[in-house]
């Protein structure tokens, strides 16, 4: 296991690279398409981080799309219908998703194993069907032509410009997504390093024992699930701004499954697993674009191959002392 200091330094280097080197070279190389790919990867890895947290308490969550969809709609409705600033709508979308997660989580978190997975899978479908049926979401027609994010100014100094006035809003969205991703993973890392992370793992290992040791497992589970859903909501909110639209089908069961795959592929034992998993899966898909109709075939074959040689995730390639790792 790498020491904390090493991990922090590593993360700082990663952050600097993502904020300077990557955008510099993609712009220099004129690969604007990769800016969007990276933006998408960052957003999806935020949502995946949420799924990863539910994995940390021993629950397989195939319902993250529901919260991403909720977040997307909350942000869209706040921005388009009530004229709230997009920037404020991001945390509000996350909080709204977290509140729903608390209400739903209290009963369903008592379920374990495949039962929990299935209920979450169904919840994705419930979210989609609700978006189709509710008047406030504009039903089947979706919410389209959403405005670009507005400016942030404090005391007359513009901190963030109005995206609508930008020559290249892609790079702006890139920074939004990457910064959110960096913050998210820093916080998740801190969370898992703290006592809370230890408690989560205790929960994942044996809920009865944790309970007998006086740990309020019901509360901890709901907290974990709410954090998870918060992240889903945030990712959904930003995506609705990127695409300037949100539809009942913006996040589907397939996405829920992909979030789960991202976590698995990166490695469930590693906080940064979701970033690695999302990056490999999405970027792989991007590269395979040239393979045209064999894209899906090659992608699936590589995925299976990876599972066979690295059943504990890509990050298990990094040598670790002893078994204990997180």
């Amino acid at each position: 296991m790498m020491s904390d200091r090493l991990q922090i330094i590593g993360y700082a280097v990663f952050a600097v690279v993502m904020l300077t080197v990557v955008p510099f070279f993609t712009v220099l190389a004129g690969r604007n398409d990769y800016l969007y790919t990276f933006t998408l990867i960052a957003l999806l890895s935020i949502a995946s981080a949420g799924v990863w947290i539910t994995f940390a308490i021993g629950r397989i969550n195939i319902g993250q799309s529901a919260y991403a969809l909720v977040g997307g709609y909350v942000s869209a409705i706040l921005v388009a219908t009530y004229g709230v600033s997009f920037w404020l709508s991001i945390p509000l979308a996350g909080l709204f998703a977290a509140c729903i997660a608390v209400v739903i989580g209290l009963p369903i978190l008592r379920l374990r194993g495949v039962y929990f997975s299935m209920v979450t899978l169904v919840s994705t479908e419930v979210a989609r069907l609700s978006a189709l049926a509710l008047p406030i979401t504009k039903g089947a027609k979706g919410m389209v032509n959403l405005p670009m994010p507005g400016p942030i100014a404090i005391g007359g100094i513009t901190l963030v410009p109005d995206f609508a006035t930008l020559e290249n809003p892609r790079i702006a969205f890139y920074y939004v997504a990457i910064i959110l991703m960096l913050i998210t993973f820093l916080l998740v890392w801190r969370l898992m390093r703290s006592r809370i992370g230890q408690l989560f793992v205790a929960l994942q290992q044996n809920e009865d024992l944790a309970q007998s040791a006086g740990i309020d497992i019901a509360r901890l589970r709901v907290i974990a699930y709410a954090i998870s859903s918060f992240l889903g909501g945030v990712a959904g909110a930003v995506f609705s701004a990127v695409s300037q639209s949100v539809y009942p089908s913006s996040f589907t069961t397939q996405d829920s499954i992909n979030f789960m795959l991202n976590c698995f592929l990166g490695g469930l034992g590693y906080v940064f697993g979701p970033i690695v998993g999302t990056f490999v899966l999405r970027f792989g898909w991007d590269l395979l674009f040239q393979a045209q109709r064999f894209q899906l075939l090659i992608y699936a074959a590589i995925l299976i191959g990876l599972m066979l040689v690295l059943p504990n995730g890509l990050l298990s390639l990094i040598p670790s002392r002893k078994g204990a790792k997180r």
């Binding site: 994995f55 397989i60 739903i104 009963p107 369903i108 008592r110 379920l111 374990r112 194993g113 495949v114 039962y115 997975s117 299935m118 209920v119 899978l121 169904v122 919840s123 479908e125 419930v126 069907l129 609700s130 189709l132 049926a133 069961t253 397939q254 499954i257 789960m260 795959l261 698995f264 592929l265 469930l268 034992g269 109709r293 064999f294 899906l296 075939l297 992608y299 699936a300 074959a301 995925l303 299976i304 599972m307 066979l308 059943p311 504990n312």
Partner: protein, 288 residues
């Protein structure tokens, strides 16, 4: 209303058969087989090819579907699932593997069989019309066959040696091993049998609803629902779950038809509530 009940029973019979294979594999290996629906589709295309394209008799096509899928299942277990289960730290890894296999099958099916919806000539012509109930003869035959297959499967699990070994395995893997059950062999056999059931029902239903290359994922999800309603890993639960879901759909679609847009919302939401109240479904074994 009689018509609705008949629809529900018929739907329930085919759903139960779909759920059986899934629950078998789950019971034996704790693998939630995401590729179950794709196996169903493959089975459907085999029957489509043998019966619809080569014009061989329908039963021959069914056997072909069953055998080819059993073979695929056995190979999958031996070369993919077994090594991953052995080497992975967490049980859930098999879920990723199953999902990846589902992707692979989707890709192969699309490349080999194309993107169009396919159908075959009717296996029986004519419609039974009693005045209150209308049901085509081919549906009656398919439902009857489904019931026969289910009964056959249950008898096999109950009375044959492999069946008993697999039940012991499902009960307690370690204990079964101590009792001298060859765990590897019967896991393999069970996986093959689960895949066989998927292929069989896929082939059977081609006669009624045809087959479409992209439908696998949806079939898997539906099968998960049935298994959850009935209780995971229990044969009786799969059958009960299939019947319940079939009835729910048939009755729900009729009763709620004036509010069409929310029928499935109501079904799914009640499912969530039901599972929250009965965490192990109707008759499932508790998890962990």
């Amino acid at each position: 209303m009689e018509q609705v009940l008949v629809n529900g029973l018929y739907l329930g019979a085919q759903y139960a058969l779909i759920a059986l294979g899934l629950t078998l594999i789950f019971a034996l290996m704790n693998v939630l087989n995401f590729a179950h629906g794709q196996m169903y589709v493959l089975g459907g295309f085999v029957t489509y090819t043998v019966y619809g394209q080569w014009h061989l008799p329908f039963p021959v096509a069914l056997v072909a579907s069953a055998v080819s899928l059993a073979l695929i299942g056995a190979l999958l277990e031996k070369f993919l699932f077994r090594p991953v289960i052995r080497r992975s730290k967490r049980d859930e890894s098999t879920m990723l593997l199953a999902a990846a296999v589902a992707f692979l099958f989707d890709a192969i099916i699309l490349l080999v069989f194309g993107e169009k919806g396919r159908g075959v000539p009717k296996i029986l012509n004519g419609v039974l019309n009693t005045g209150t109930i209308v049901i085509p003869y081919d549906r009656i035959l398919v439902a009857a066959l489904a019931v026969v297959f289910i009964a056959g499967f249950m008898a096999f699990m109950q009375f044959s040696k492999p069946g008993r070994a697999m039940r012991a395995l499902a009960q307690d893997r370690t204990a079964a091993q101590l009792m001298g059950v060859n765990v590897n062999r019967y896991s393999n056999f069970g996986f093959a049998l689960g895949a066989l059931l998927a292929g069989l029902v896929g082939g059977l239903l081609v006669a009624i609803v045809g087959v479409n290359s992209g439908i696998g994922g949806a079939i898997s999800t539906k099968a998960f629902l049935m298994v959850m309603i009935g209780g995971a890993g229990v044969v009786g639960g799969a059958i009960a779950g299939g019947l319940v879901l079939g009835m729910l759909e048939a009755v729900g679609l009729t009763v709620l038809h004036a509010y069409g847009d929310i029928t499935y919302l109501v079904i799914f939401a009640s499912l969530m509530i039901f599972l929250a109240i009965r965490p192990n479904g109707l008759m499932g074994k508790p998890w962990g």
